[in-house]
Subunit: 423 residues, 2 copies
């Protein structure tokens, strides 16, 4: 079933033996007393009623037995790798099957997040990592790496109606993924008080779902910028098929080249790729394109405090990405005479969104396997599950920031319009 | 009527001639061609249909004639002072009657704010002024200077029910000051999801109106800290009179000495006096006192971008005060594992609040005159009118920030609870 050669993430598959990931490498020889001692050092970071650890002498198809999950180290290198730098090494060790999880992967990640403060220390002082400033060609490479791996792949687990690859809004906890993504888009449009005929500029438009939503539901004219070739091609086809191509223009270009004027500037899930060093320039661009009474919204993954992105995510999943703190985000607004009107933190909505994505991903595993090799399948599962737990434990945040020009008085006095009765 | 010797602001009254402020100083000699030329340099910063300028040779009781306002310079020094540093000098020149405004003072201030960008340059780079870090005794002096000038004075123009000397919330534009202050307190309590029996710590409690409101309307137990002697004495009397003294404790102490534990930390209008250099310590204090599922709210005057407080306000009205930007405020939260859930900017509500205060102040002018000398009367009018225009033009902002511990999941999913049906 597996297409062993298709892996756009670049994770090595050389340790695989056909489909038999669970077998691991048996070349390590039987575990020594040192191996056992190291295994215990890892195990003591976890609640033993939740997660159990075994070494390569345990059966490859070992069950979770008592508790929700058993973690099996396939070889000595996997054991050493996890001990020395779990955040950096777990991803590849898991993807390549040198570490296998029998039972509930989420339970393992949950424990890892729950206990992270006991064993790791996050630097409190600002350091060089924050000054990431991708230039145009680096941005193109970064975006290509993640978003151009196949529209069909994303269709397997994103919402069907709008292919929203960003946090949904569960106005009601019982909402489906489709409903919550529609609710998210309405929530954003209400925050922006979008009116028929208004000109919108969207920076980072994904598969065009929100641009078309604004045209279809609010009568807006939208110019949507994106540097992902595959997403742009998809978006243009969809707009034509829906006869929305007179209202919505998809521009294959970098946000830095946005020109013209707009009543509304909106960016959902792009800031993560911009780099803090480019924020001031992004703000200057907004200042250039926004009309006097214009307003804007930036929706982004963020942090409560500055820290680098998980090194495995940075290497395999989102090269060049960085979730900013609110303090860092202010570099967009403060130097450019923009006034922050409203900030909402939707962290737990992203945890729920990821729950829905992961559920669909697992339901469509065979289809994913027909597209990619097993290391990719496992890496992507880990990325979705790990992100879910990161939002659940507050390691990641989701900020929606509404802004207007400094001193602009054509702004709503209250936020009641965001909460229409029964809405 | 005037009590010429009572002026807690310290503004010099030596240029006054009894009540006859409008007479100015006539010792300057007739205006020269240079004086006229300087007058024109000032006039060209204003729309001549709004504000007209005259020199000391014009009649002292000069009317506004055409347009809403005429500004009269009483002597050459006043003319020079305004030209060289209007932000620093206008306050004292106006207070001491060396500059008089005939007609609408608000129209003059409006024009000054409208055109400020044309003629002044605000430094964009952070500079030393931001590192204001008052120690305990400096804080005591600063607070005494402003808040201990007489409870009876503040009663003349604040809302009667709760003596709120902070921004009100006009859920409905037609609200009276009293209604809007009640609405503000409800809005804050809803944001905090305050429940009966919960322990609140309030930092900077003013005249105790909000502490008693929380006890009376939400059944909360409140410990309210304040270093203003007069406010504490007043608050204790009121709590006794209302039989709320078993629920509300007024503590005459600095916020830095807050101890114990609380479910809710709230501070309305104190942060302006804390100093950016003390924010991290304030956050550490919140981290110490807040229970695991606790939440908090900080309500403060702020800025869209860093700049020093108007020098006249800093000298005469609010020594040591500083309205922070959101970026600066994050120093409270980010180093202390606190997570920002919600930020609301209520700038225009403060403009409306000040409109109400100024209206009452003018209505009660005779009572104010019986308490203070004319320079105080004029200084305070200018302070209220100038603040009104500062909020209206976006030179000042009003931020309400809701927060909880990082990773705490007992938080509301949406903000609908802040907007109950029917207000």
């Amino acid at each position: 079933m597996s297409k062993g050669d298709v892996n756009p993430l670049g994770v090595s598959t050389k340790d695989f033996e056909g489909d038999g990931l669970q077998s691991g490498r048996s070349s390590a020889g039987p575990p020594t007393r040192l191996d056992r001692w190291l295994q215990e050092r890892i195990a003591e970071r976890f609640d033993s009623s939740q997660v159990r650890f075994v070494l390569w002498d345990a059966p490859a198809e070992t069950g979770p037995e008592s508790g929700p999950a058993t973690v099996r180290f396939g070889d000595r290198g996997a054991l050493f790798g996890l001990l020395t730098n779990p955040a950096a090494n777990f991803g590849d060790l898991y993807s390549t099957g040198r570490i296998t999880v029998h039972g509930d992967l989420l339970a393992v990640l949950d424990e890892a997040y729950r206990n992270r403060h006991r064993h790791t220390r996050v630097p409190r002082t600002p350091s060089r990592f924050r000054l990431q400033t991708p230039n145009l060609s680096e941005s193109r490479e970064n975006i290509h790496h993640h978003y151009d791996i196949g529209n069909e792949f994303y269709r397997l687990w994103l919402d069907r109606a709008a292919l929203q690859y960003t946090c949904a809004y569960y106005a009601d906890e019982a909402m489906s993924l489709e409903q919550a993504q529609q609710a998210k888009m309405h929530h954003v449009c209400r925050k922006l008080r979008l009116e028929p005929g208004e000109q919108v500029v969207e920076a980072g438009g994904g598969w065009g779902g929100f641009a078309m939503f604004m045209a279809r539901n609010y009568g807006a004219r939208v110019r949507s910028f994106n540097i992902s070739k595959e997403q742009i091609a998809w978006s243009r086809d969809r707009a034509k098929a829906e006869n929305l191509d007179d209202l919505v223009e998809f521009v294959e270009d970098d946000y830095r080249n946005i020109s013209g004027r707009c009543d509304v500037f909106v960016s959902i899930g792009m800031l993560e790729h911009v780099g803090v060093g480019n924020y001031r320039e992004l703000g200057a661009l907004i200042d250039r394109v926004l009309t006097h009474e214009g307003r804007g919204l930036v929706h982004t993954i963020g942090r409560d405090s500055s820290q680098p992105l998980n090194p495995w995510i940075a290497r395999r999943i989102f090269p060049g990405a960085y979730p900013p703190t609110l303090r860092e985000m202010m570099e967009i607004f403060e130097p450019n005479e923009l006034s922050v009107l409203d900030v909402e933190n939707l962290r737990l909505h992203y945890a729920r969104t990821l729950e829905h994505w992961l559920e669909r991903y697992e339901q469509n595993l065979e289809a994913v396997r027909s597209m990619f090799d097993e290391a990719f399948v496992r890496a992507w599962r880990l990325y979705l599950a790990g992100s879910l737990k990161a939002f659940e434990h507050g390691s990641l945040q989701l900020f929606q920031v509404v802004f207007a020009r400094s001193g602009m008085n054509e702004i709503p006095r209250t936020r009641e319009h965001m909460y229409p009765a029964g809405g």
